[in-house]
């Protein structure tokens, strides 16, 4: 079957539709997912196609959306629960980190939680600090929960399908400003991408940029600019914060000896901190410079347009960070 150029939104819809057709235990629930078709229109038309039984508008109760999804998963279904933004997932934190992530371990594998929680992340839309942060790293802290953050339509489809088929709980995080981005995506209904594999998105020899999600976009733009100045960046897209696959990062680092981590998280205790720690542990002999980090500023994200943009990472900030290293 051929590839087709589609948006991330279409890729997500296709993944959900194919998996719902494939396995009737899969169902969707969340706020506004049915009649309205999802806050970001990912499930538009699903209620007609699959019916109200499998596409369920819930009360505004994040705690129950996540908690009931854990329950339904333990009882033999494969729920896909939608939380409008990851910033509202804090209202469901106990169900996600204390239960979904720990049940299998705590009860010796008696129960598995084949659950996907889909949510959106990220700033840049003037929605203020309680809508706009990108705190997926917090969820990656807990063993037992996979955290995936696609940066392209291709990855969005393959990663979401893999998440739905997997027996472990997955927090699947989509960037709210990237849903219109296009890429060629396989139409084959059995196209899935492995969970926990990062991907080299650009080849280069001078610096390794480690990133994910929206950071991929800033990094790719930055790499084009840097290339004009004769600096070739290699870009590793983590795709998964857990399982975290740093092998391609180490391979790249052996060649470049320099690394910049680009992410939309806040600067403290973020992915960059983890990557930097692991590089200095594993790659100490290859290091020519300290690992640099580009992230959001260490403040609640502000509303007013200019100061919001200032507080977020950008391609320019990535360029500047790289130029300090090479």
């Amino acid at each position: 079957m051929a590839d087709k150029v589609i948006t991330i939104r279409e890729a997500l819809s296709a993944a959900l539709r194919e998996e719902m057709q494939r396995d009737e235990r899969v169902f969707i629930m969340g706020e506004e997912v049915g009649v309205w078709g999802g806050t970001y229109a990912v499930t538009r038309g699903f209620i007609d196609e699959f019916g109200e039984k499998r596409v369920r508008d819930t009360p505004i109760s994040e705690m129950v959306i996540a908690g009931a999804a854990v329950g339904a998963a333990m009882a033999g279904l494969r729920p896909i629960a939608e939380i409008m933004t990851i910033n509202f997932a804090f209202l469901a934190l106990d169900a996600i980190v204390n239960h979904a992530a720990k049940v299998r371990y705590m009860f010796n594998g008696q129960f598995t939680v084949p659950l996907v929680i889909r949510t959106t992340t990220g700033g840049g839309k003037q929605l203020g600090a309680t809508h706009s942060h990108a705190p997926e790293v917090i969820f990656a802290h807990f063993p037992g929960l996979y955290v995936g953050v696609p940066g392209t339509a291709y990855d969005a489809k393959g990663m979401l399908k893999a998440s739905i088929r997997d027996d472990n709980p997955v927090l699947f995080v989509e960037h709210s400003t990237m849903l219109q981005r296009r890429a060629a995506v396989p139409e084959d209904p059995d196209f899935v991408l492995p969970i926990g594999k990062s991907d080299v998105k650009r080849r280069g020899k001078d610096v390794t940029i480690v990133t994910y999600g929206k950071g991929l976009e800033w990094s790719m733009t930055a790499a084009d600019t840097l290339s004009k100045d004769g600096i070739e960046a290699e870009i590793v897209d983590l795709r998964w914060l857990r399982p975290l696959d740093l092998e391609p990062v180490f391979e790249s680092f052996k060649k470049t000896n320099r690394c910049v981590v680009v992410e939309e998280s806040l600067p403290m205790f973020n992915i960059g901190a983890e990557v930097a720690a692991q590089i200095q542990q594993e790659m100490f002999d290859y290091m020519d410079a300290p690992v640099k980090r580009v992230s959001a500023m260490d403040i609640p994200l502000p509303y007013s347009r200019e100061i919001e943009l200032m507080a977020l990472p950008s391609a320019e900030k990535v360029v500047a960070a790289v130029k300090e290293l090479v």
Binding site: V35, P59, L91, I299, Y303, I307
Partner: protein, 340 residues
């Protein structure tokens, strides 16, 4: 407002102790809030602002509630639809436009938070969050503090009916019941939460039906009748002030406009339904009442409109002319400095 819509006329003024000047002030507050709100929709359509969430249709319950409070003394923990409420508490049109434009000097947040998060110490407005219903437990804490400190302040907290599905609502009201708190939880029931109708939020007919499980009082009021709203809120507030504990007030109302500038309500409800509710428009209903009492005529109505227009024009121009916040404004105040 479509011309052919005929207004349903009833206002229940039984037990309302307001003099003519006060009755007209309520009208002024409702009209001004409506016109500001309509103007903001226009600004959004013109691409001048990022987002608007509207209070159109909710003016009667909000203005009635505000005037039932001791304004500036009692606490209000509002939600995003409470533009008329906030204005009636002393928030100004200029404040609002500074917020929607995200300009320097915006008084509630320094342009750091989204608009319609109505906050101001001077007006007793506590800072609401965007995750719905989180204000209810906080309001219980504010009311508890007032009680522990021996103050006679009442806390009014507002939210929509859909938001009552959150655990926060139940847990907050349970506290209010257990601790016999001076708190009014005002639910503005406009029968939709974005696209989701009330019957998908709860299996009871009225939000107020849940009050017995918390051991608190309940009242249901026609939220499109400003005087009934005023009276019911006043009774609840004075009971709370006198040590009688909390009340869950449910105001039945309707939102004749989309949820926010991000949605199209034609996908989830019929135009007939919206038109039917427009017949119950709170401002037009009150207008008829005031005309019948000889307090309003065509000239006076136009005077109110002209005054509102002028105030709004000035506020908008003033806010537009204001500069954006400088970059360093993004940095603080996160913490109060360790050493002042």
């Amino acid at each position: 407002m479509t011309a052919e819509v005929q207004t349903v006329h009833q206002i229940d003024d039984a037990g309302v102790d307001l003099d003519p000047a006060a009755l007209l002030e309520l009208y002024w507050q409702m009209v001004r809030a409506r016109r500001i709100d309509e103007r903001t929709w226009v600004l959004h359509r013109q691409g001048k602002i990022a987002f608007h969430i509207s209070g159109i249709g909710h003016e009667a319950i909000q203005v009635g509630a505000a005037y039932a409070m001791r304004r500036g003394h009692d606490y209000a923990h509002l939600y995003y639809r409470d533009l008329a409420f906030a204005l009636a508490l002393g928030y100004t049109p200029r404040d609002f436009y500074l917020a929607v434009f995200g300009k320097l000097g915006e008084p509630t947040s320094g342009a750091r938070q989204m608009p319609s998060h109505f906050t101001g110490r001077a007006q007793g407005m506590l800072p609401p969050s965007s995750p719905v219903a989180t204000q209810v437990p906080q309001a219980a804490g504010v009311a508890l503090a007032c009680k522990l400190r021996g103050q006679d302040r009442v806390t009014v907290v507002t939210l929509g009916e859909g938001s009552t599905s959150e655990g926060d609502f139940f847990e907050g009201l349970n506290w209010a019941g257990v601790h016999i708190l001076p708190m009014i939880c005002l639910v503005q029931n406009n029968i939709y939460a974005i696209s989701v109708p009330m019957e998908k939020q709860m299996a009871v007919a009225n939000v107020a039906d849940r009050a017995p499980m918390f051991g608190i009082a309940a009242a249901i009021v026609d939220g499109n009748d400003v005087l009934a709203s005023y009276r019911v809120m006043k009774e609840a507030i004075e009971r709370a002030r006198g040590g009688g504990g909390a009340t869950l007030v449910e105001a039945k109302t309707y939102r004749p406009v989309p949820h926010s500038s991000d949605d199209d309500d034609r996908t989830y409800r019929s135009r007939d339904e919206v038109d039917e509710w427009k017949r119950h428009d709170p401002i037009l209903r009150y207008q008829i009442y005031l005309r019948e009492r000889g307090l309003l005529d065509d000239q006076k109505i136009e005077d109110v409109e002209a005054r509102a227009r002028q105030e709004i024009d000035e506020a908008q121009a003033n806010a537009l002319a204001a500069p954006y916040p400088p970059a360093e404004d993004a940095l603080g105040p996160v913490f109060k400095p360790l050493h002042d």
